[in-house]
Symmetry: C2
Amino acid sequence: MLKDWTAQEKPAQEEIEARLEAARAALAARQMVLKEKKVPVLVLFEGWGTAGKGSVLGKVIKNMDPRFYKTETFSWTAATGARFPFLHKYFVRIPQEGKFSFYDGSWMDEVTKQFARGEMSVDQYRSRLNSIRRFERQLVDNGYLVVKFFFHITKKEQKKRLEQLLEDESTRWRVSKWDKWQNKHYEECLDVFDMYLDATNQFNSPWFFIDSQNKKWAELQVLEILVKNIDTALENIGRSAVVLQNTFPLKRMPLLSEVDLSVKADEATYDEELKKLQTRLAELHNILYLKKIPVIIAYEGWDAAGKGGNIKRVTAALDPRGFEVHPIASPEPAEKSRHYLWRFWNRLPRSGHIAVVDRTWYGRVMVERLEGFCSENDWQRAYNEINEFEKELTDWGAVVVKFWVQIDKETQLERFNERQNTPEKQWKITDEDWRNREKWDQYEVAVNEMLQKTSTEFAPWYILESNDKHYARLKALKILIDVIEKRLKAE
Amino acid sequence: MLKDWTAQEKPAQEEIEARLEAARAALAARQMVLKEKKVPVLVLFEGWGTAGKGSVLGKVIKNMDPRFYKTETFSWTAATGARFPFLHKYFVRIPQEGKFSFYDGSWMDEVTKQFARGEMSVDQYRSRLNSIRRFERQLVDNGYLVVKFFFHITKKEQKKRLEQLLEDESTRWRVSKWDKWQNKHYEECLDVFDMYLDATNQFNSPWFFIDSQNKKWAELQVLEILVKNIDTALENIGRSAVVLQNTFPLKRMPLLSEVDLSVKADEATYDEELKKLQTRLAELHNILYLKKIPVIIAYEGWDAAGKGGNIKRVTAALDPRGFEVHPIASPEPAEKSRHYLWRFWNRLPRSGHIAVVDRTWYGRVMVERLEGFCSENDWQRAYNEINEFEKELTDWGAVVVKFWVQIDKETQLERFNERQNTPEKQWKITDEDWRNREKWDQYEVAVNEMLQKTSTEFAPWYILESNDKHYARLKALKILIDVIEKRLKAE
């Protein structure tokens, strides 16, 4: 599509100046409205090396209140890139509502650079494109305005600029190897860029090409397109996104009512078996660490189901330098004002590490659903969005294990009463627990739906029968050992 | 994506019955709301042969008021297909606002069938995918709800059904060659379908897969997804679509103020030259007819610019069996309640014929813009939508020539006064003409923008300087001859 594109004719300098003034004022005026309406704006500056992305970005933000925006640049050496999923660095920097993030080069630059230079296989490239499409769609569906600019210059113009920059000692450092490579392989790069732009030119996050031969004119194009897209986004506040069907392979899950909770551990051998399993898990942890395989263990379950004790038996086996437990409470303001998965992207383990997450992103389809903290459209979309999130993690190479810790209603009551009546356990029981208990049936519906819709082949749910806590602990360890062993065999 | 998809588990028969009742009632209830809110709904039933599309469709409409829907089936033999553009048959049947159209097989079936069986080149297939993506996006952007179902069955199930149908005399006719071919080449077809579904799985018109092993369950899935999508569409009424940048090659056009209107025909040789040009055009018309090349000549221009007389000099040269003139007035209710290009799709010439359109689809970015008959977002989007429309026409093989008939303001005043003062010409001048004249400057801005943004390489604008009508007539004929000759040489 870039190849077929014809730039608009550049207006006379006088007209550019007049329109620039108007566009700058328009953007300045939109800042407060966006803040008030709580719309987050992500702006991508992509394009040819020396096309002037950086200097136009500098101009654009000059007219903005610094409280309302951040600019971000990215570097992705093999070393830092490998410790987190591909999208991690981009996701953790998304703006909060009412603010702008300007990315000076982002995933397009990363992916096309590697692909053009033959550093990435076609399969890997295709998988990246899928990740990118999903990421951009999720942002838009969750209320983000995503504006994508591609700064275009001709081969000749690029050559001229490179020569000028290289001539002068004081500007030579600004020319990267990639810039030079581009000009030498301009036609190949154009092919790769064009394919990429086409593949990611989605409905609600299309590409805008910027004729970058002249800097003021480029600035004007950026400002006017930005303002127009902001106005469209403001008109569309509260828009509902289409609820997509799951398209990942799913595993069949039983209904909670079908789970046999009478299962029990053999008390005579429990201690011994626990120890044996923990020893094995410790061994595996070392191998995982050496092989730099990350593991994410997600715990969900009823109040008083025994999650805490279960987690303790797992982490007891682990080298404390290699894991972290993340208890998840209600989101902080900085978390609440971003995509709901943002706070989990921020808690990912580095490769080779283990993260145990105590209550997770599944809050979206349980508590947020039942308490009305998000719209119906939001939680219905979330099943697919969560599957996409976990696909990102497993594609990165992570082992994702999700436990639902199951007890029956009577067992919960017994444990609540015990907590209430045991002074040193009273902190564990709150009024909220009792209120949640009243909604047991609604939660059961939501949990059943969640288990059916998010038990993918790459990140399946495991149910831990926890009327007998010992049984649940041994089972958790066995599953972890089993899954990790299988993963290591597949290496 | 189809390959990775896992169907939801089929509920128990009892639950299906209960949910069916609820879903039928929900759909019935939505009909009146859609009518009232003026949302048009296009539902595509695609999928494997014998998957039960037809019978589920029959069930779905049973619960609907027949005033609110139409069902459409399509056949596309080489013969009928070739006389109109690929999308024509689908576009002319889109629903009007507040109504449903159910398409029992549509462009997916057509395109994948031809591609799977090797009857279409990869390039042609790619071009079809582009057409389809644009078409679906335009519908959604213009307020349509587009719901796309793919009915899925396994190879084994399809084989079983084919055998059952073939066994019985009374059902044998229902099995098509394509159905049988599919089962024989199930894996290849699955590949083609999967690629197609992936390529057309757009943001606001995604695919929904229907597990079709069981008919009642299939019906329930369709109904529930339909209702959910209707609710989302209702929530989003008035949503503004993103204004896309043009991505087609554009020709540079002068501003109207730069056009030299002093040019004059040589009166001494006018009659002779006119005759010569008309004779040549007549010859070309024959060749066009034989080669089945369609021609669309679009006239736009100021009131009293001389469009009528110009058109007459062109059509005088043509065989009356091979052309049609379409004077375009305000849209009828049936036209107004559909996509604004619908009435022009309905006026396309058959291949080998010529259509002269007197005032055109460009009304969207002139009168509709200036009179507020559509939103700003609507007319801003229209430049790109119109370019896409004309791309469809030229890809089909049509010659598209667009004339802007230009005069200056003084000449218009003279002609208005002459009309007013000549009894037999008085019908030609209305109060509206005088009102439009008052908006000359606003129109000039709109026309300049239109000329800049829609003069593509495949369908450029030509300006006819018409202060001297003779000059404009000769120029129109010369351009037509020139463009047609070039087109014939390229054959």
